[in-house]
């Protein structure tokens, strides 16, 4: 549970572990019924309509939002850059 939480970048308190484990157990046991299905030789479907990649010229296009609008969204910024705590 704690490993899964860490992978998900979520912190879970002691009190949360048991109820969450119970919920996830019941969900996993429900989805496990897929094992009853014979899927040998069946191709998986990742998207329904067999779409092909859409290409376009690699050209700069106008974007509706301005750079300063996007920077203004950041919780912290300085000198036109988004600020985060020191990493190294």
């Amino acid at each position: 549970m704690l490993h899964l939480a860490e992978l998900s970048r979520l912190s879970i308190s002691e009190e949360e572990i048991e109820p969450l484990k119970k919920d996830l157990d019941s969900i996993v046991s429900y989805i496990s019924q897929l094992n009853e299905l014979d899927t040998d030789g069946v191709e998986p479907t990742y998207q329904c309509f067999d779409m092909q990649n859409v290409w376009r010229e690699d050209e700069i296009q106008e974007f509706e939002a301005k750079r300063e609008d996007l920077l203004a969204l950041a919780p912290e910024s300085e000198d036109n850059q988004i600020k985060v705590p020191k990493v190294l």
Partner: protein, 463 residues
């Protein structure tokens, strides 16, 4: 639908909608109102009308916008704490198209946070109440949009449907709700949930109104490469069924289905018969696995899509964060609702290297079998009929303690989503206690307008 013209002022339409929103405040339909901007737009439209200028197909029509659509008006919160301060710098394509036709957004409607849920109880801003009984849930996740339409606050509302989020609240509140074919409407600017099944649709009270709104928002968009070439282009009456035959999915009328729902949806089948359709019962045993497929694939896509909320570039950043890891972990832990966290964890579980084949790959293979079963059915039928949800609206709080019981609500809506098919929730009647019940018509890809035409025929037959 009432459109502004020389006799009907847009300002009056907007004022009436705002007054109704105020009257029904206790239902908690809206997360934020857009009164000032809406009135200003209405005035502009009235001025244009006075000058005889072009004002668009939805001139002055007030609408409610599910709060997961981006626009410059108000914050796009997705009913979550992590985005409650987020003011979007972009406008969703669907919104831009509506605005270009003169429609006026009066408020941002409540939803389950990030559209995760079937009751609108998972909202950071509290639950929305059912329009027919305020002790019951609105359904979800587009609960606010459905209730806004049902209470006649607005004549239409936008929603999004990934596994039933338009259809089920439409059923619970007695209005039409359409989940279009995957790719019919651009997803650009809508907060992503599960990208392979996310669709954008609407609520309205008449089939023709649904068609009008959808014909405006549908269409290919360079900003969403999954959009299909334009096909929502016909007049409803031009779209006729070729077989005049509808398949009633017998598997959806058995155990676990409320007897009143069963009766009302079958009675809708009789109304179709009265319009000259042949109704044939058939079995689709693979449907039993539809929900399990969905609750593997959808959380996997959710986990991936929600990884962008990291506290770095926009919206919430935890005040307690001291290092980079803290920013990610604390921000996400504070900002997501419990249900968001469950889905992220399930998603990361089914995608993890040890379990990928057993769950994710298995589900995607089962998805192929499901699609094959639909294809087989559409060789015989124009459309398929089944309930939208196993029960009418349940009590507030009734299903919040056990997530799996809440998931079971989606059992009859998720299969069409997994196959990308259009599905329409049609107000079909009421239980003895006065709770609305919807019937669901599912069609082959791009047959959205046919479903609406069929519903319209029944609507007119009842006049």
């Amino acid at each position: 639908m009432k459109i502004a013209d020389k006799n009907t002022k847009a300002v009056d339409l907007v004022k009436a909608a705002l007054a109704k929103a105020e009257e029904y405040k206790d239902y908690n339909v809206f997360i934020s109102m857009n009164a000032e901007a809406a009135l200003k737009k209405a005035e502009e439209i009235d001025q244009k009308i006075a000058k005889g200028e072009e004002v668009g197909k939805l001139a002055g029509v007030p609408y409610a916008l599910k709060d997961n659509y981006s626009s410059h008006e108000g914050n796009t919160t997705a009913a979550s704490h992590i985005l409650d301060s987020y003011h979007s710098p972009i406008t969703a394509t669907a919104v831009a198209k509506l605005e270009a036709e003169g429609a006026i957004m009066i408020g941002r409607a409540n939803l389950d946070a990030f559209a995760h849920g079937g009751s609108t109880e998972n909202s950071y801003f509290g639950p929305t109440k059912n329009s027919a009984d305020d002790t019951r849930v609105a359904g979800g996740s587009s609960g606010g949009s459905a209730v806004a339409t049902a209470l006649d606050i607005v004549e239409f509302a936008l929603g999004s449907d990934t596994g039933g989020s338009i259809r089920q609240p439409a059923s619970f509140n007695g209005v039409y709700g359409i989940k279009p074919t995957y790719g019919a409407v651009s997803r650009y600017g809508v907060v992503a949930m599960a990208s392979s099944t996310d669709t954008m649709g609407c609520f309205a009270k008449k089939a023709e109104d649904v068609d009008l709104v959808m014909s405006i928002i549908a269409g290919q968009d360079k900003k969403d490469s999954t959009t299909l070439p334009d096909y929502w282009t016909k007049k409803l009456d031009e779209v006729q069924p070729s077989k005049k035959k509808i398949g009633l999915i017998r598997d959806c009328f058995g155990e676990g289905i409320d007897p009143e729902v069963n009766k009302i949806v079958r009675a809708y089948g009789d109304k179709l018969k009265a319009q000259g359709f042949e109704i044939e019962e058939f079995d689709m045993p693979i449907l039993k696995y539809g929900l399990a497929i969905y609750y593997v694939v959808q959380p996997a896509e959710v986990a991936s899509n929600l990884s962008r909320y990291d506290g770095i570039r926009y919206a919430l950043r935890s005040k307690d964060a001291k290092n980079l890891d803290d920013i990610y972990t604390l921000t996400r832990s504070e900002g997501f609702m419990k249900e968001n966290k469950r889905r992220i964890m399930i998603g990361n579980f089914v995608l993890s290297s040890g379990f990928y084949d057993a769950y994710y790959l298995k589900a995607q293979k089962a998805r192929t079998l499901l699609i094959n079963a639909y294809n087989e059915a559409f060789e015989k039928y124009d459309a398929l009929l089944c309930p939208v949800a196993p029960t009418p609206a349940f009590k507030l709080g009734e299903k919040t303690s056990d997530p799996l019981t809440m998931y079971l609500e989606d059992a009859m809506t998720v299969p069409a989503s997994m196959a990308g098919l259009p599905a329409l929730s049609i107000p079909a009647g009421k239980t003895e206690a006065g709770l609305p019940v919807g019937a669901q018509l599912i069609g082959r890809a791009q047959s959205d307008q046919l479903l609406l035409n069929i519903a319209k025929q029944v609507e007119e037959g009842e006049k």
